[in-house]
Amino acid sequence: MKLKIDVMVDLYRTMKTIREFEERIVDLYARGLVPGLAHLYIGEEAVAAGVCATLAQDDYITSTHRGHGHVIAKGAELKRMMAELFGKKTGYCKGKGGSMHIADMEAGILGANGIAGGGLPIATGAGWSAKWRKTQQVTGCFFGDDASNNGTFHESLNLASIHKLPVVYVCENNLYGISVCQAKHMPISDISIRATAYDIPGVTVDGNDVIEVYQAAFKAVERARAGEGPTLIECKTYRWRGHHEGDPNQGGRYRAKDEIESWKEKCPIARLAGKMIQNKQITEKGLQDIDDQVVRAIEEAVAFAKQSEFPDLDEMYEDVLVN
Protein backbone atom coordinates (compact mmCIF):
# COMPACT_ATOMS: atom_id res chain seq x y z
CA MET A 1 0.00 0.00 0.00
CA LYS A 2 1.40 3.38 -1.03
CA LEU A 3 0.56 6.37 1.10
CA LYS A 4 -0.88 9.49 -0.45
CA ILE A 5 1.25 12.59 -0.16
CA ASP A 6 -1.18 14.45 2.04
CA VAL A 7 -1.26 11.53 4.46
CA MET A 8 2.51 11.67 4.66
CA VAL A 9 2.48 15.40 5.20
CA ASP A 10 -0.03 14.97 7.99
CA LEU A 11 2.14 12.29 9.58
CA TYR A 12 5.09 14.64 9.43
CA ARG A 13 3.09 17.47 10.96
CA THR A 14 1.79 15.28 13.78
CA MET A 15 5.22 13.93 14.68
CA LYS A 16 6.74 17.38 14.53
CA THR A 17 3.99 18.75 16.76
CA ILE A 18 4.59 16.05 19.34
CA ARG A 19 8.35 16.62 19.25
CA GLU A 20 8.02 20.36 19.60
CA PHE A 21 5.44 20.03 22.39
CA GLU A 22 7.69 17.68 24.34
CA GLU A 23 10.77 19.79 23.84
CA ARG A 24 8.92 22.76 25.25
CA ILE A 25 7.93 20.66 28.25
CA VAL A 26 11.60 19.91 28.97
CA ASP A 27 12.15 23.61 29.44
CA LEU A 28 8.85 24.40 31.17
CA TYR A 29 9.34 21.50 33.56
CA ALA A 30 12.85 22.64 34.45
CA ARG A 31 11.47 26.08 35.19
CA GLY A 32 8.80 24.66 37.48
CA LEU A 33 5.84 25.74 35.35
CA VAL A 34 4.80 22.15 34.71
CA PRO A 35 4.75 20.38 38.08
CA GLY A 36 4.55 16.71 38.96
CA LEU A 37 5.64 13.97 36.60
CA ALA A 38 6.37 14.45 32.89
CA HIS A 39 7.05 11.25 30.97
CA LEU A 40 8.16 12.43 27.54
CA TYR A 41 7.60 10.73 24.22
CA ILE A 42 10.54 12.14 22.28
CA GLY A 43 11.84 9.50 19.87
CA GLU A 44 8.60 7.49 19.80
CA GLU A 45 6.45 9.91 17.81
CA ALA A 46 5.98 7.59 14.83
CA VAL A 47 3.91 5.16 16.87
CA ALA A 48 1.20 7.57 17.99
CA ALA A 49 1.19 9.41 14.68
CA GLY A 50 1.05 6.29 12.54
CA VAL A 51 -1.66 4.57 14.55
CA CYS A 52 -3.94 7.55 15.15
CA ALA A 53 -3.80 8.54 11.48
CA THR A 54 -5.70 5.34 10.73
CA LEU A 55 -8.45 6.10 13.25
CA ALA A 56 -11.53 8.23 12.67
CA GLN A 57 -12.62 11.12 14.87
CA ASP A 58 -15.19 8.99 16.70
CA ASP A 59 -12.84 6.05 17.22
CA TYR A 60 -11.32 5.68 20.66
CA ILE A 61 -7.89 5.42 22.19
CA THR A 62 -6.59 4.58 25.62
CA SER A 63 -3.25 6.01 26.54
CA THR A 64 -0.53 5.65 29.17
CA HIS A 65 1.57 7.66 31.59
CA ARG A 66 3.62 8.63 28.50
CA GLY A 67 0.55 9.99 26.81
CA HIS A 68 1.16 13.43 25.28
CA GLY A 69 1.94 11.97 21.86
CA HIS A 70 -1.15 9.75 21.73
CA VAL A 71 -3.40 12.56 22.75
CA ILE A 72 -1.96 15.05 20.24
CA ALA A 73 -2.16 12.50 17.45
CA LYS A 74 -5.80 11.72 18.27
CA GLY A 75 -6.63 15.37 17.83
CA ALA A 76 -6.46 17.04 21.21
CA GLU A 77 -6.12 20.82 21.28
CA LEU A 78 -2.64 21.92 22.22
CA LYS A 79 -3.91 24.85 24.24
CA ARG A 80 -6.09 22.80 26.52
CA MET A 81 -3.37 20.17 26.86
CA MET A 82 -0.75 22.69 27.81
CA ALA A 83 -3.14 24.39 30.23
CA GLU A 84 -3.76 21.03 31.88
CA LEU A 85 -0.05 20.44 32.29
CA PHE A 86 0.17 23.81 34.02
CA GLY A 87 -2.72 22.84 36.32
CA LYS A 88 -4.98 25.56 34.93
CA LYS A 89 -8.76 25.72 34.94
CA THR A 90 -8.88 25.88 31.13
CA GLY A 91 -7.11 22.53 30.80
CA TYR A 92 -8.74 19.33 29.62
CA CYS A 93 -9.36 18.17 33.19
CA LYS A 94 -9.84 21.62 34.74
CA GLY A 95 -6.37 21.22 36.20
CA LYS A 96 -7.35 18.22 38.28
CA GLY A 97 -5.54 15.55 36.31
CA GLY A 98 -2.30 16.86 34.85
CA SER A 99 0.03 15.14 32.41
CA MET A 100 -0.92 11.57 33.29
CA HIS A 101 -4.70 11.95 33.04
CA ILE A 102 -5.55 13.98 29.96
CA ALA A 103 -8.90 12.89 28.56
CA ASP A 104 -11.35 14.20 25.98
CA MET A 105 -14.53 12.26 25.40
CA GLU A 106 -15.33 14.27 22.24
CA ALA A 107 -12.05 13.29 20.61
CA GLY A 108 -12.39 9.67 21.74
CA ILE A 109 -9.52 9.99 24.20
CA LEU A 110 -10.49 7.75 27.10
CA GLY A 111 -7.66 8.99 29.25
CA ALA A 112 -3.97 8.85 29.72
CA ASN A 113 -3.35 6.56 32.66
CA GLY A 114 -1.07 6.55 35.67
CA ILE A 115 -1.41 2.82 36.14
CA ALA A 116 0.82 0.72 33.92
CA GLY A 117 -1.47 -1.74 32.16
CA GLY A 118 -4.54 0.14 33.36
CA GLY A 119 -5.68 1.13 29.89
CA LEU A 120 -5.85 -2.37 28.43
CA PRO A 121 -9.13 -3.53 29.96
CA ILE A 122 -10.64 -0.07 29.40
CA ALA A 123 -9.86 -0.32 25.68
CA THR A 124 -11.30 -3.81 25.65
CA GLY A 125 -14.50 -2.51 27.19
CA ALA A 126 -14.71 0.37 24.73
CA GLY A 127 -14.39 -2.15 21.92
CA TRP A 128 -17.05 -4.34 23.47
CA SER A 129 -19.30 -1.34 23.86
CA ALA A 130 -18.94 -0.47 20.16
CA LYS A 131 -19.94 -4.02 19.35
CA TRP A 132 -22.95 -3.93 21.68
CA ARG A 133 -24.01 -0.53 20.41
CA LYS A 134 -23.50 -1.76 16.82
CA THR A 135 -21.31 1.18 15.81
CA GLN A 136 -18.29 0.86 13.59
CA GLN A 137 -15.94 2.37 16.17
CA VAL A 138 -12.49 0.93 16.68
CA THR A 139 -10.35 1.39 19.77
CA GLY A 140 -6.59 1.86 19.65
CA CYS A 141 -4.93 0.77 22.86
CA PHE A 142 -1.40 2.01 23.63
CA PHE A 143 0.82 0.41 26.28
CA GLY A 144 4.49 -0.24 26.95
CA ASP A 145 6.67 -3.33 26.70
CA ASP A 146 6.75 -3.77 30.46
CA ALA A 147 3.00 -3.24 30.79
CA SER A 148 2.56 -6.28 28.56
CA ASN A 149 3.82 -8.35 31.51
CA ASN A 150 0.79 -7.39 33.49
CA GLY A 151 -2.21 -9.64 33.85
CA THR A 152 -4.40 -6.95 32.35
CA PHE A 153 -2.66 -7.43 28.99
CA HIS A 154 -3.27 -11.16 28.93
CA GLU A 155 -6.80 -10.96 30.24
CA SER A 156 -7.67 -8.26 27.72
CA LEU A 157 -6.29 -10.04 24.67
CA ASN A 158 -8.05 -13.19 25.67
CA LEU A 159 -11.39 -11.45 26.13
CA ALA A 160 -11.03 -9.47 22.92
CA SER A 161 -10.18 -12.58 20.95
CA ILE A 162 -13.06 -14.66 22.31
CA HIS A 163 -15.54 -11.91 21.51
CA LYS A 164 -13.89 -10.61 18.32
CA LEU A 165 -13.71 -7.10 19.70
CA PRO A 166 -12.70 -4.19 17.47
CA VAL A 167 -9.52 -3.26 19.32
CA VAL A 168 -6.00 -2.64 18.03
CA TYR A 169 -3.48 -3.32 20.78
CA VAL A 170 -0.35 -1.27 20.20
CA CYS A 171 2.68 -2.18 22.24
CA GLU A 172 5.33 0.53 22.29
CA ASN A 173 8.43 -1.51 22.87
CA ASN A 174 11.02 1.09 23.86
CA LEU A 175 13.12 -1.68 25.40
CA TYR A 176 12.75 -0.57 29.01
CA GLY A 177 10.30 -0.37 31.85
CA ILE A 178 11.90 2.49 33.79
CA SER A 179 15.38 1.01 34.49
CA VAL A 180 14.61 -2.60 33.70
CA CYS A 181 15.64 -3.66 30.21
CA GLN A 182 13.46 -5.99 28.20
CA ALA A 183 15.74 -9.00 28.65
CA LYS A 184 15.31 -8.68 32.41
CA HIS A 185 11.54 -8.29 32.39
CA MET A 186 10.58 -10.92 29.79
CA PRO A 187 12.22 -13.94 28.16
CA ILE A 188 11.21 -13.12 24.57
CA SER A 189 12.39 -10.39 22.23
CA ASP A 190 9.34 -10.05 19.98
CA ILE A 191 6.32 -9.22 22.12
CA SER A 192 4.06 -9.78 19.12
CA ILE A 193 4.43 -13.54 19.58
CA ARG A 194 2.21 -13.22 22.63
CA ALA A 195 -0.67 -12.87 20.17
CA THR A 196 -0.29 -16.54 19.30
CA ALA A 197 -1.54 -17.56 22.72
CA TYR A 198 -4.77 -15.68 22.03
CA ASP A 199 -5.12 -16.78 18.42
CA ILE A 200 -5.02 -13.29 16.97
CA PRO A 201 -2.62 -11.70 14.46
CA GLY A 202 0.58 -10.35 15.98
CA VAL A 203 3.03 -8.23 14.02
CA THR A 204 6.28 -6.51 14.84
CA VAL A 205 7.14 -3.31 13.02
CA ASP A 206 9.90 -0.73 13.06
CA GLY A 207 8.32 1.78 15.38
CA ASN A 208 10.60 4.53 14.11
CA ASP A 209 9.27 4.13 10.59
CA VAL A 210 5.96 5.94 10.58
CA ILE A 211 4.94 4.48 7.26
CA GLU A 212 5.42 0.95 8.47
CA VAL A 213 3.43 1.73 11.62
CA TYR A 214 0.67 3.32 9.54
CA GLN A 215 0.41 0.36 7.22
CA ALA A 216 0.22 -2.17 10.03
CA ALA A 217 -2.35 -0.12 11.89
CA PHE A 218 -4.40 0.41 8.75
CA LYS A 219 -4.70 -3.31 8.24
CA ALA A 220 -5.56 -3.94 11.88
CA VAL A 221 -8.21 -1.23 11.89
CA GLU A 222 -9.79 -2.64 8.74
CA ARG A 223 -9.90 -6.07 10.30
CA ALA A 224 -11.43 -4.68 13.49
CA ARG A 225 -14.08 -2.73 11.62
CA ALA A 226 -14.98 -5.79 9.61
CA GLY A 227 -15.81 -7.57 12.86
CA GLU A 228 -12.89 -9.94 12.58
CA GLY A 229 -11.42 -9.08 15.95
CA PRO A 230 -8.30 -7.63 17.53
CA THR A 231 -4.67 -7.41 16.42
CA LEU A 232 -1.49 -6.97 18.43
CA ILE A 233 1.05 -4.62 16.88
CA GLU A 234 4.47 -4.32 18.47
CA CYS A 235 6.39 -1.18 17.54
CA LYS A 236 10.10 -1.29 18.33
CA THR A 237 11.23 2.15 19.37
CA TYR A 238 13.19 4.06 22.01
CA ARG A 239 12.72 6.97 24.35
CA TRP A 240 15.47 9.52 24.06
CA ARG A 241 14.99 11.09 27.45
CA GLY A 242 14.82 9.63 30.94
CA HIS A 243 11.80 7.68 32.14
CA HIS A 244 10.48 11.03 33.26
CA GLU A 245 12.00 14.47 33.52
CA GLY A 246 14.38 14.35 36.45
CA ASP A 247 15.57 10.79 35.78
CA PRO A 248 19.35 11.38 36.14
CA ASN A 249 21.31 11.72 32.86
CA GLN A 250 18.36 10.77 30.66
CA GLY A 251 18.33 7.30 32.15
CA GLY A 252 22.15 7.08 32.15
CA ARG A 253 21.98 5.06 35.34
CA TYR A 254 20.80 2.05 33.35
CA ARG A 255 21.46 2.83 29.67
CA ALA A 256 24.76 3.25 27.83
CA LYS A 257 25.35 6.60 26.21
CA ASP A 258 26.17 4.90 22.91
CA GLU A 259 22.85 3.15 22.94
CA ILE A 260 20.96 6.40 23.41
CA GLU A 261 22.99 8.12 20.68
CA SER A 262 22.53 5.26 18.23
CA TRP A 263 18.76 5.55 18.55
CA LYS A 264 18.89 9.28 17.94
CA GLU A 265 20.34 8.40 14.53
CA LYS A 266 17.07 6.62 13.83
CA CYS A 267 14.94 9.71 14.40
CA PRO A 268 11.50 8.97 12.96
CA ILE A 269 10.92 12.56 11.93
CA ALA A 270 14.21 13.02 10.08
CA ARG A 271 13.58 9.69 8.42
CA LEU A 272 10.20 10.61 7.00
CA ALA A 273 11.42 14.05 6.00
CA GLY A 274 14.43 12.54 4.23
CA LYS A 275 12.27 10.09 2.36
CA MET A 276 9.80 12.74 1.21
CA ILE A 277 12.55 15.06 0.05
CA GLN A 278 14.28 12.24 -1.76
CA ASN A 279 11.05 11.25 -3.52
CA LYS A 280 10.40 14.91 -4.29
CA GLN A 281 7.11 14.75 -2.40
CA ILE A 282 7.89 17.94 -0.54
CA THR A 283 10.51 20.68 -0.66
CA GLU A 284 12.79 21.87 2.12
CA LYS A 285 10.75 25.01 2.08
CA GLY A 286 7.56 23.01 2.43
CA LEU A 287 8.92 21.28 5.52
CA GLN A 288 10.15 24.54 6.95
CA ASP A 289 6.70 26.06 6.58
CA ILE A 290 5.19 23.20 8.55
CA ASP A 291 7.87 23.51 11.22
CA ASP A 292 7.15 27.22 11.55
CA GLN A 293 3.43 26.61 11.90
CA VAL A 294 4.06 23.98 14.53
CA VAL A 295 6.34 26.24 16.54
CA ARG A 296 3.76 29.00 16.39
CA ALA A 297 0.99 26.67 17.57
CA ILE A 298 3.09 25.56 20.53
CA GLU A 299 3.93 29.18 21.37
CA GLU A 300 0.23 29.98 21.41
CA ALA A 301 -0.47 26.99 23.61
CA VAL A 302 2.17 28.08 26.12
CA ALA A 303 0.88 31.64 26.13
CA PHE A 304 -2.67 30.37 26.64
CA ALA A 305 -1.58 28.17 29.53
CA LYS A 306 0.36 30.98 31.15
CA GLN A 307 -2.53 33.43 30.88
CA SER A 308 -5.13 31.00 32.18
CA GLU A 309 -6.27 31.02 35.78
CA PHE A 310 -5.76 28.32 38.34
CA PRO A 311 -9.01 26.69 39.47
CA ASP A 312 -10.91 28.15 42.41
CA LEU A 313 -10.27 26.25 45.59
CA ASP A 314 -13.90 25.14 45.85
CA GLU A 315 -13.50 23.20 42.62
CA MET A 316 -11.58 20.63 44.60
CA TYR A 317 -14.88 19.22 45.86
CA GLU A 318 -16.59 19.10 42.47
CA ASP A 319 -16.67 16.19 40.02
CA VAL A 320 -16.20 13.39 42.55
CA LEU A 321 -19.58 12.07 41.45
CA VAL A 322 -22.19 13.01 38.87
CA ASN A 323 -24.60 15.36 40.62
Binding site: G95, I115, G177, V180, F310, L313
Partner: protein, 325 residues
Protein backbone atom coordinates in the same frame (compact mmCIF):
# COMPACT_ATOMS: atom_id res chain seq x y z
CA UNK B 1 24.60 10.26 67.74
CA UNK B 2 24.93 10.13 63.98
CA UNK B 3 22.23 11.80 61.88
CA UNK B 4 20.95 10.12 58.74
CA UNK B 5 17.85 10.44 56.61
CA UNK B 6 14.70 8.36 56.90
CA UNK B 7 15.59 6.97 53.47
CA UNK B 8 19.09 5.96 54.61
CA UNK B 9 17.67 4.48 57.80
CA UNK B 10 15.37 2.21 55.77
CA UNK B 11 18.26 1.24 53.53
CA UNK B 12 20.32 0.36 56.57
CA UNK B 13 17.55 -1.78 58.04
CA UNK B 14 17.32 -3.73 54.79
CA UNK B 15 21.08 -4.12 54.52
CA UNK B 16 21.54 -5.28 58.11
CA UNK B 17 18.63 -7.67 57.83
CA UNK B 18 20.02 -9.17 54.63
CA UNK B 19 23.47 -9.57 56.15
CA UNK B 20 22.22 -11.45 59.16
CA UNK B 21 19.43 -13.48 57.64
CA UNK B 22 19.82 -15.05 54.25
CA UNK B 23 16.12 -15.79 54.03
CA UNK B 24 15.58 -12.08 53.41
CA UNK B 25 15.12 -11.26 49.71
CA UNK B 26 13.86 -8.12 48.03
CA UNK B 27 11.39 -8.02 45.15
CA UNK B 28 10.08 -4.97 43.34
CA UNK B 29 10.21 -2.74 40.29
CA UNK B 30 13.51 -0.95 39.76
CA UNK B 31 14.90 -2.02 43.14
CA UNK B 32 18.13 -3.26 41.53
CA UNK B 33 20.65 -1.06 39.73
CA UNK B 34 18.29 1.90 40.00
CA UNK B 35 18.10 1.51 43.77
CA UNK B 36 14.32 1.91 43.87
CA UNK B 37 12.71 5.08 42.65
CA UNK B 38 13.09 6.61 46.11
CA UNK B 39 16.57 5.09 46.55
CA UNK B 40 15.59 2.92 49.50
CA UNK B 41 17.30 -0.16 48.05
CA UNK B 42 20.35 1.75 46.80
CA UNK B 43 23.49 -0.39 46.61
CA UNK B 44 21.77 -3.55 47.83
CA UNK B 45 21.92 -5.36 44.51
CA UNK B 46 25.68 -4.63 44.37
CA UNK B 47 26.17 -6.20 47.77
CA UNK B 48 23.71 -9.09 47.63
CA UNK B 49 23.41 -9.81 43.91
CA UNK B 50 20.48 -9.97 41.50
CA UNK B 51 19.17 -13.22 42.98
CA UNK B 52 18.40 -11.61 46.30
CA UNK B 53 17.52 -8.13 45.10
CA UNK B 54 15.27 -8.76 42.15
CA UNK B 55 13.95 -6.32 39.56
CA UNK B 56 10.49 -7.56 38.72
CA UNK B 57 8.31 -6.95 35.67
CA UNK B 58 5.21 -4.80 36.15
CA UNK B 59 3.29 -7.72 37.55
CA UNK B 60 2.28 -6.80 41.07
CA UNK B 61 -0.26 -9.57 41.55
CA UNK B 62 2.46 -11.95 40.42
CA UNK B 63 5.35 -10.81 42.56
CA UNK B 64 3.35 -9.91 45.65
CA UNK B 65 1.70 -13.29 45.44
CA UNK B 66 5.10 -14.88 44.91
CA UNK B 67 6.22 -13.15 48.09
CA UNK B 68 3.34 -14.79 49.94
CA UNK B 69 4.23 -18.20 48.55
CA UNK B 70 7.89 -17.76 49.40
CA UNK B 71 7.08 -16.58 52.92
CA UNK B 72 4.80 -19.54 53.45
CA UNK B 73 7.67 -21.86 52.55
CA UNK B 74 10.43 -20.43 54.67
CA UNK B 75 11.69 -17.18 53.13
CA UNK B 76 11.38 -13.62 54.47
CA UNK B 77 10.57 -11.52 51.41
CA UNK B 78 10.48 -7.75 51.54
CA UNK B 79 8.38 -6.63 48.60
CA UNK B 80 8.33 -3.05 47.39
CA UNK B 81 5.29 -1.53 45.74
CA UNK B 82 6.34 1.76 44.18
CA UNK B 83 3.36 3.76 45.49
CA UNK B 84 0.55 2.63 47.81
CA UNK B 85 -1.74 3.48 44.87
CA UNK B 86 -0.53 0.35 43.05
CA UNK B 87 -1.50 -2.06 45.83
CA UNK B 88 -4.94 -1.91 44.24
CA UNK B 89 -3.76 -4.07 41.34
CA UNK B 90 -2.77 -6.89 43.69
CA UNK B 91 -5.36 -6.59 46.42
CA UNK B 92 -6.39 -10.22 46.20
CA UNK B 93 -2.88 -11.31 47.09
CA UNK B 94 -2.81 -8.90 50.02
CA UNK B 95 -6.30 -9.18 51.44
CA UNK B 96 -7.46 -12.68 50.52
CA UNK B 97 -4.14 -14.47 50.61
CA UNK B 98 -1.43 -12.79 52.69
CA UNK B 99 -3.80 -11.63 55.42
CA UNK B 100 -6.03 -14.69 55.61
CA UNK B 101 -3.89 -17.79 55.34
CA UNK B 102 -2.91 -18.24 58.93
CA UNK B 103 -6.50 -17.98 60.09
CA UNK B 104 -8.13 -19.97 57.30
CA UNK B 105 -5.61 -22.75 57.79
CA UNK B 106 -6.48 -22.96 61.47
CA UNK B 107 -3.15 -21.62 62.68
CA UNK B 108 -1.06 -23.69 60.30
CA UNK B 109 1.65 -21.96 58.30
CA UNK B 110 2.83 -18.38 58.59
CA UNK B 111 3.53 -15.51 56.20
CA UNK B 112 6.53 -13.52 57.45
CA UNK B 113 6.52 -11.01 54.63
CA UNK B 114 6.89 -7.24 54.52
CA UNK B 115 5.08 -5.20 51.90
CA UNK B 116 6.68 -1.76 51.68
CA UNK B 117 4.54 1.08 50.34
CA UNK B 118 4.55 4.85 50.61
CA UNK B 119 1.89 7.51 50.94
CA UNK B 120 1.60 11.28 50.74
CA UNK B 121 0.47 14.07 48.44
CA UNK B 122 2.39 17.24 47.68
CA UNK B 123 4.42 16.22 44.66
CA UNK B 124 1.98 17.23 41.95
CA UNK B 125 1.48 13.65 40.90
CA UNK B 126 -2.34 13.66 40.97
CA UNK B 127 -4.94 11.08 41.85
CA UNK B 128 -3.12 7.80 41.12
CA UNK B 129 0.28 8.55 42.68
CA UNK B 130 -0.52 10.56 45.80
CA UNK B 131 -2.97 8.55 47.85
CA UNK B 132 -2.82 7.82 51.56
CA UNK B 133 -5.26 4.97 52.03
CA UNK B 134 -3.20 3.12 54.66
CA UNK B 135 -6.29 2.89 56.89
CA UNK B 136 -7.63 0.31 54.47
CA UNK B 137 -5.05 -2.18 55.68
CA UNK B 138 -5.87 -1.41 59.28
CA UNK B 139 -9.40 -2.50 58.47
CA UNK B 140 -8.33 -5.96 57.33
CA UNK B 141 -7.75 -8.55 60.08
CA UNK B 142 -4.54 -10.51 59.67
CA UNK B 143 -2.15 -7.72 58.77
CA UNK B 144 0.19 -5.67 60.92
CA UNK B 145 0.57 -2.05 59.84
CA UNK B 146 3.59 0.14 60.64
CA UNK B 147 3.69 3.91 60.08
CA UNK B 148 7.14 5.32 60.92
CA UNK B 149 7.41 9.09 61.37
CA UNK B 150 11.14 9.50 62.06
CA UNK B 151 14.41 8.08 60.79
CA UNK B 152 14.93 6.30 64.11
CA UNK B 153 11.52 4.67 63.98
CA UNK B 154 11.94 3.83 60.29
CA UNK B 155 14.98 1.68 60.97
CA UNK B 156 13.75 0.03 64.16
CA UNK B 157 10.27 -0.69 62.86
CA UNK B 158 11.55 -2.11 59.58
CA UNK B 159 14.01 -4.40 61.38
CA UNK B 160 11.13 -5.57 63.55
CA UNK B 161 8.82 -5.98 60.55
CA UNK B 162 11.33 -8.25 58.83
CA UNK B 163 11.85 -10.36 61.96
CA UNK B 164 8.16 -10.53 62.77
CA UNK B 165 6.40 -13.78 61.87
CA UNK B 166 3.32 -11.98 60.58
CA UNK B 167 2.64 -10.17 57.32
CA UNK B 168 3.38 -6.47 57.70
CA UNK B 169 2.22 -3.56 55.57
CA UNK B 170 5.05 -1.10 56.05
CA UNK B 171 3.78 2.37 55.20
CA UNK B 172 6.46 4.94 54.47
CA UNK B 173 5.92 8.60 53.74
CA UNK B 174 7.31 10.34 50.67
CA UNK B 175 7.76 13.72 52.33
CA UNK B 176 9.73 12.11 55.15
CA UNK B 177 12.31 10.33 52.98
CA UNK B 178 14.75 13.22 53.14
CA UNK B 179 14.18 14.22 56.75
CA UNK B 180 17.06 13.56 59.12
CA UNK B 181 17.24 12.17 62.61
CA UNK B 182 19.51 10.43 65.09
CA UNK B 183 19.88 6.77 64.23
CA UNK B 184 22.20 4.30 66.01
CA UNK B 185 24.63 2.43 63.79
CA UNK B 186 23.96 -0.88 65.47
CA UNK B 187 20.89 -2.97 64.79
CA UNK B 188 17.80 -2.52 66.97
CA UNK B 189 14.12 -3.26 66.75
CA UNK B 190 11.11 -1.31 67.95
CA UNK B 191 8.33 -3.60 69.17
CA UNK B 192 5.00 -3.18 67.40
CA UNK B 193 2.05 -1.80 69.34
CA UNK B 194 4.03 0.82 71.25
CA UNK B 195 3.04 4.37 70.48
CA UNK B 196 5.54 6.99 71.54
CA UNK B 197 4.80 10.19 73.36
CA UNK B 198 6.96 12.50 71.29
CA UNK B 199 6.15 15.47 73.51
CA UNK B 200 4.43 15.47 76.89
CA UNK B 201 1.65 17.92 77.73
CA UNK B 202 -1.40 18.34 79.91
CA UNK B 203 -4.03 20.29 77.93
CA UNK B 204 -4.57 18.62 74.56
CA UNK B 205 -3.66 15.20 73.15
CA UNK B 206 -2.75 15.13 69.48
CA UNK B 207 -2.61 11.58 68.16
CA UNK B 208 -0.70 11.78 64.88
CA UNK B 209 0.90 9.67 62.18
CA UNK B 210 3.74 10.13 59.70
CA UNK B 211 4.54 13.68 58.57
CA UNK B 212 1.79 15.03 60.81
CA UNK B 213 3.82 14.04 63.85
CA UNK B 214 6.36 16.70 62.89
CA UNK B 215 3.58 19.16 62.14
CA UNK B 216 1.98 18.41 65.50
CA UNK B 217 5.29 19.01 67.26
CA UNK B 218 5.59 22.38 65.53
CA UNK B 219 2.02 23.23 66.51
CA UNK B 220 2.78 22.15 70.08
CA UNK B 221 5.74 24.52 70.11
CA UNK B 222 3.50 27.34 68.92
CA UNK B 223 0.79 26.46 71.43
CA UNK B 224 3.29 26.43 74.28
CA UNK B 225 4.00 30.09 73.60
CA UNK B 226 0.32 30.70 74.32
CA UNK B 227 0.47 28.63 77.46
CA UNK B 228 -1.23 25.55 75.97
CA UNK B 229 0.57 22.28 76.74
CA UNK B 230 0.08 19.78 73.93
CA UNK B 231 0.91 16.10 74.19
CA UNK B 232 1.90 14.51 70.89
CA UNK B 233 1.31 10.78 70.57
CA UNK B 234 2.92 9.11 67.55
CA UNK B 235 1.13 5.82 66.90
CA UNK B 236 4.09 4.14 65.12
CA UNK B 237 1.92 1.10 64.35
CA UNK B 238 -1.77 1.10 63.46
CA UNK B 239 -2.01 -2.64 64.05
CA UNK B 240 -1.48 -3.38 66.82
CA UNK B 241 -2.92 -0.10 68.04
CA UNK B 242 -1.52 1.08 71.37
CA UNK B 243 -4.88 1.76 72.95
CA UNK B 244 -3.47 2.21 76.40
CA UNK B 245 -1.13 5.08 75.51
CA UNK B 246 -3.96 6.86 73.66
CA UNK B 247 -6.47 6.41 76.47
CA UNK B 248 -4.04 7.33 79.25
CA UNK B 249 -3.13 10.51 77.43
CA UNK B 250 -6.73 11.53 76.82
CA UNK B 251 -7.64 10.78 80.42
CA UNK B 252 -4.89 13.17 81.42
CA UNK B 253 -5.65 16.02 78.99
CA UNK B 254 -9.40 15.63 78.41
CA UNK B 255 -9.07 16.90 74.83
CA UNK B 256 -8.32 14.92 71.66
CA UNK B 257 -7.29 15.84 68.16
CA UNK B 258 -6.44 13.05 65.74
CA UNK B 259 -4.30 13.96 62.73
CA UNK B 260 -3.81 11.57 59.84
CA UNK B 261 -3.47 12.04 56.09
CA UNK B 262 -5.97 9.45 54.92
CA UNK B 263 -9.38 10.61 53.69
CA UNK B 264 -11.46 11.51 56.69
CA UNK B 265 -14.19 8.89 56.21
CA UNK B 266 -13.38 5.58 57.89
CA UNK B 267 -9.75 6.49 58.41
CA UNK B 268 -7.26 6.10 61.24
CA UNK B 269 -8.69 9.25 62.76
CA UNK B 270 -12.19 7.76 62.82
CA UNK B 271 -10.96 4.62 64.53
CA UNK B 272 -9.00 6.43 67.21
CA UNK B 273 -11.95 8.75 67.81
CA UNK B 274 -14.32 5.83 68.19
CA UNK B 275 -11.99 4.15 70.63
CA UNK B 276 -11.84 7.22 72.83
CA UNK B 277 -15.58 7.80 72.55
CA UNK B 278 -16.19 4.26 73.73
CA UNK B 279 -13.61 4.05 76.46
CA UNK B 280 -12.92 7.51 77.75
CA UNK B 281 -15.90 9.69 76.95
CA UNK B 282 -16.27 10.81 80.56
CA UNK B 283 -12.73 12.13 80.56
CA UNK B 284 -13.48 14.46 77.63
CA UNK B 285 -13.90 18.17 78.19
CA UNK B 286 -14.44 18.91 74.48
CA UNK B 287 -15.73 17.12 71.41
CA UNK B 288 -13.14 14.98 69.61
CA UNK B 289 -11.70 16.63 66.51
CA UNK B 290 -10.26 14.97 63.42
CA UNK B 291 -7.85 16.59 60.98
CA UNK B 292 -7.67 14.40 57.90
CA UNK B 293 -7.79 14.75 54.12
CA UNK B 294 -11.02 15.67 52.35
CA UNK B 295 -13.09 12.92 50.76
CA UNK B 296 -11.90 13.70 47.24
CA UNK B 297 -9.14 12.25 45.08
CA UNK B 298 -5.89 14.23 45.27
CA UNK B 299 -6.13 17.09 42.76
CA UNK B 300 -3.22 17.89 40.45
CA UNK B 301 -3.32 21.68 40.21
CA UNK B 302 -0.80 23.14 42.67
CA UNK B 303 -3.21 25.50 44.50
CA UNK B 304 -5.80 22.74 44.84
CA UNK B 305 -3.27 20.24 46.07
CA UNK B 306 -2.00 22.77 48.57
CA UNK B 307 -5.54 23.31 49.82
CA UNK B 308 -6.02 19.55 50.02
CA UNK B 309 -3.06 19.19 52.34
CA UNK B 310 -2.72 20.50 55.85
CA UNK B 311 -0.18 20.87 58.62
CA UNK B 312 0.80 23.02 61.55
CA UNK B 313 -1.65 25.81 60.79
CA UNK B 314 -4.75 23.61 60.62
CA UNK B 315 -3.65 21.63 63.66
CA UNK B 316 -3.11 24.84 65.58
CA UNK B 317 -6.60 26.00 64.67
CA UNK B 318 -8.05 22.75 65.97
CA UNK B 319 -6.02 22.99 69.16
CA UNK B 320 -7.37 26.48 69.71
CA UNK B 321 -10.91 25.25 69.11
CA UNK B 322 -10.46 22.47 71.63
CA UNK B 323 -9.23 24.97 74.21
CA UNK B 324 -12.52 26.89 73.94
CA UNK B 325 -14.06 24.17 76.09
Amino acid sequence: MREITYCEALNEALRESMRTDERVVILGEDVGCYGGIFQITKGLQDEFGPDRVVDTPIAEAGFVGAGVGAALTGMRPVVEIMFIDFTTVCMDMIINQMAKMRYMFGGKGKVPMVLRVNIGAGRGTAAQHSQSFHSLFMHIPGLLVAVPATAYDAKGLLMEAIQNDNPVIFVEHKRLYNTKGDVPEESYTIPFGQAEIKRAGTDVTVVATHALVTEALKAAEEAAEKGIEVEVVDLRTLVPLDRKTILDSVKKTGRLLVADEDNITCGVASEVSALVAEEAVYALKAPILRNASPDTPVPFSPPLEKAYMFGQERLMQSIRNLMKY
